[in-house]
């Protein structure tokens, strides 16, 4: 057993906890925290897991509707599309990892969002990605673009999901903080949706998928270098995606779900084992006890802290119907994946972790999850830009040159070179590939029905006026769906903003959400899932507010879907609207 470091103020701060949060944690424990507990608390209460800055505002979004089966709060939203089928979808950011290592960062972003979809019992049928990079001539941009695009393709193509849309924009404001937002959608039967809510006491908690390594274990371990002399070997490492394992995990999970063995299931994303176990227990009002000695590991001598915080990809946690154990295990063997019973559900509503015969963590489970700290951060009305009056803009001398400049701008140009690196046709259901207003994919098992997908936002509008910009993003998404002949169903969002502790930035977030809520209510276009990415800034300079809205629509008959192509010489052009 490595000697655990002493819990000092620096170590607490290094874990991103404020002194007040740390006191709260001490209160919950009723004693000093162990090092493992400090890791667990910091993982559960960070912005990414707890939504502590945004939760209050997210509650104001409209999330229900006659077709909504599952709104925010699960791995993905679920919307009824008739005939017993439903569409399951969500969007998720992987901004910072993609900046550090563009290929793997983007690849694991795709892997994460796909797991969110198939954990719910849905087979992924479409993906999109909204990408924002710095200026084209910035020295890092080329490397980042080629890495991110290759990473998305490398993962999605091998996994076997068609990429049917996205966004690609260049702006120097993203020079030091690119945005990689990935969307995925899947199809499931409405009566066969799986969730993370554990039920039943004394049932086996099963670990599925790949073996645990030190991948992505927070930099906080580094800050405590003195606790082990082999620290060089234990350096936190970048997460690497393994689409092959994920494809096997998809097939194994769907087989397992069909077998009736699954009571609750949750993918391991950020702070893998910690988040997934806490979530399953907290939702089911149960406790969870984990025995780390049974966790399949890739490296020797991993500490409890490392195992609990590892972000190794392609893993799941499940509560199993005990009588199905042999069958479940056989399925995972067949697909070459690990299957290990690593704990059980308990009735004490505590999260306890045993390692090497010692209890290394024992905390009340609900307070870690649902009842995490929440902030009403100070915000102020963001400054609005005064509209430019047309008459004050000089008329261009050369319209031809002006038009070419617009058409030639990197953000306006064709993104074909990007999407031709993605498999857009796999599964044989793509009716409309990228390049139009929305991608369209047929609903398998149905002769005519199809789903349309688009994602949109204009960060410049959002910066000029976050409220109007938020509304505009929803409206654009709505227009792109209706333009192809789809009935808009629902949206997922990815709110990318700067530092919420800056009242101006917090104001952008608040007003953008207000605009999104207003537009979504007006259109009856509920938000069924989403993701918030804050602290997108470098050297104190934040990105423009970028709330990406991804919408899904139902096309009653794909034969009548409209597309941007197909115009012939002599056809009339009509301008609609005003």
């Amino acid at each position: 057993m490595p000697i655990e470091p002493e819990i000092t103020e620096e170590l607490v701060a290094g874990h991103g906890l404020t002194p007040e949060e740390f006191d709260r944690a001490l209160e919950l424990a009723g004693r000093d925290l162990t090092f493992t507990e400090l890791g667990i608390v910091s993982a559960m209460w960070n912005e990414h897991c707890s939504y502590k800055s945004s939760k209050r505002w997210l509650r104001t979004l409209p999330t229900t509707g006659p077709r909504v089966i599952q709104g925010p709060g699960e791995n993905a939203g679920v919307v009824d599309i008739g005939d017993g089928d439903c569409v399951v979808f969500k969007m998720e950011s992987h901004n910072h990892p993609s900046y550090i290592e563009p290929y793997q960062g983007a690849a694991t972003g795709i892997g994460g969002i796909l797991r969110d979809i198939f954990t719910m019992g849905a087979r992924p049928i479409a993906s999109m990605n909204a990408l924002r990079f710095g200026a084209p001539d910035h020295p890092k941009t080329r490397h980042l673009v080629s890495g991110v695009v290759a990473g998305i393709g490398g993962y999605a193509n091998a996994f076997g999901v068609p990429t049917v849309g996205g966004e690609l924009e260049f702006d120097e404001r993203y020079n030091g903080n690119i945005l990689v937002n990935a969307f995925a959608a899947g199809l499931a039967k409405s009566d066969a949706i799986f969730t993370s809510k554990a039920e039943g006491v004394g049932l086996p908690v099963v670990y599925l998928g790949a073996k645990t390594g030190r991948d992505g274990v927070g930099g906080a371990t580094m800050a405590s270098a003195e606790f082990d002399s082999t620290i060089e070997e234990k350096r936190p490492t970048v997460q690497v995606g393994d689409p092959f394992t994920e494809k096997c995990l998809l097939e194994a999970c769907l087989e397992l779900m069909a077998s009736g063995a699954v009571i609750a299931i949750q993918d391991m994303g950020a702070a893998g084992l910690t988040c997934s176990a806490v979530e399953m227990g907290a939702k089911g009002d149960l406790g969870i006890r984990l025995d780390l000695d049974r966790v399949p590991v890739r490296e020797a001598d991993m500490s409890a802290y490392e195992m609990m915080l590892s972000e190794t990809q392609e893993r799941m946690l499940m509560v199993l119907r005990p009588e199905k154990e042999a069958q479940a295990q056989a399925i995972f063997r067949k697909w070459g994946l690990d299957f290990a019973i690593v704990g059980e559900t308990t009735d004490d509503q505590r999260f306890s972790v045993v390692h090497g015969g010692e209890t290394v963590a024992d905390l009340p489970i609900r307070e870690l999850g649902d009842a995490a700290p929440e902030y009403d951060r100070h915000w102020r009305e963001p400054g609005r830009y005064t509209p430019i009056v047309a008459s004050t803009v000089e008329e261009p001398e050369d319209y031809r040159a002006a038009l070419l400049a617009v058409l030639g701008a990197p953000s306006q140009g064709s993104a074909r070179w990007v999407w031709e690196q993605y498999d857009t046709m796999i599964q044989g259901n793509t009716v409309e590939r990228p390049g139009g207003d929305a991608g369209i994919v047929r609903v398998e098992g149905h002769p005519r029905k199809a789903l349309a997908f688009t994602c949109d936002v204009n960060p410049r509008y959002c910066e000029a006026d976050p409220y109007e910009g938020g509304k505009q993003a929803v409206a654009e998404c709505w227009r792109n769906l209706t333009a192809v002949g789809a009935d808009p169903l629902a949206v997922t969002d990815n709110l990318n903003f700067g530092d919420p502790e800056n009242p101006e930035i917090m104001g952008q977030l608040v007003k953008a959400i207000e605009g999104i809520a207003e537009a979504c209510s007006w259109f009856e276009f509920p938000v069924v899932s989403g993701n918030v990415s804050l602290y997108n800034q470098t050297e104190g300079r934040s990105i423009p507010p970028t709330p990406v809205i991804a919408g899904v629509g139902l096309v009653p008959d794909w034969r009548y879907a409209a597309s941007a192509g197909g115009a012939k010489p002599g056809d009339h052009l009509v301008l609609l609207g005003h």
């Binding site: 793997q104 350096r235 490492t237 690497v240 393994d242 092959f244 070459g336």
Partner: protein, 80 residues
């Protein structure tokens, strides 16, 4: 002319999906006792110079800039 070999391998602890799959395949082909497989890359280069030290510096720069992804990979340069 200088002939050189650059070897690029994954850093310790970084997941190697390829190595993992190859290890499993070797086991299924009845090769026993293969405990660990890690895959890396080699680049054989010919440089139009006779200055071995200059070549070495140049090769290191190539690794940093292109041949290796130093976030997850280590490299070594050997000159023949």
């Amino acid at each position: 002319m200088v002939k050189a070999r650059v070897t690029v391998t994954l850093k310790n602890g970084v997941l190697d999906p390829q190595g993992k799959a190859i290890g499993a395949a070797l086991a299924s082909l009845d090769f026993e006792g293969v405990e660990n497989v890690r895959q890396g890359k080699v680049f054989d280069l010919e440089l139009a110079t006779d200055d071995r030290q200059a070549a070495k510096d140049e090769l290191n720069a190539m690794c940093e800039k292109l041949l290796a992804n130093t976030v997850i990979e280590d490299y070594t340069v050997e000159i023949e």
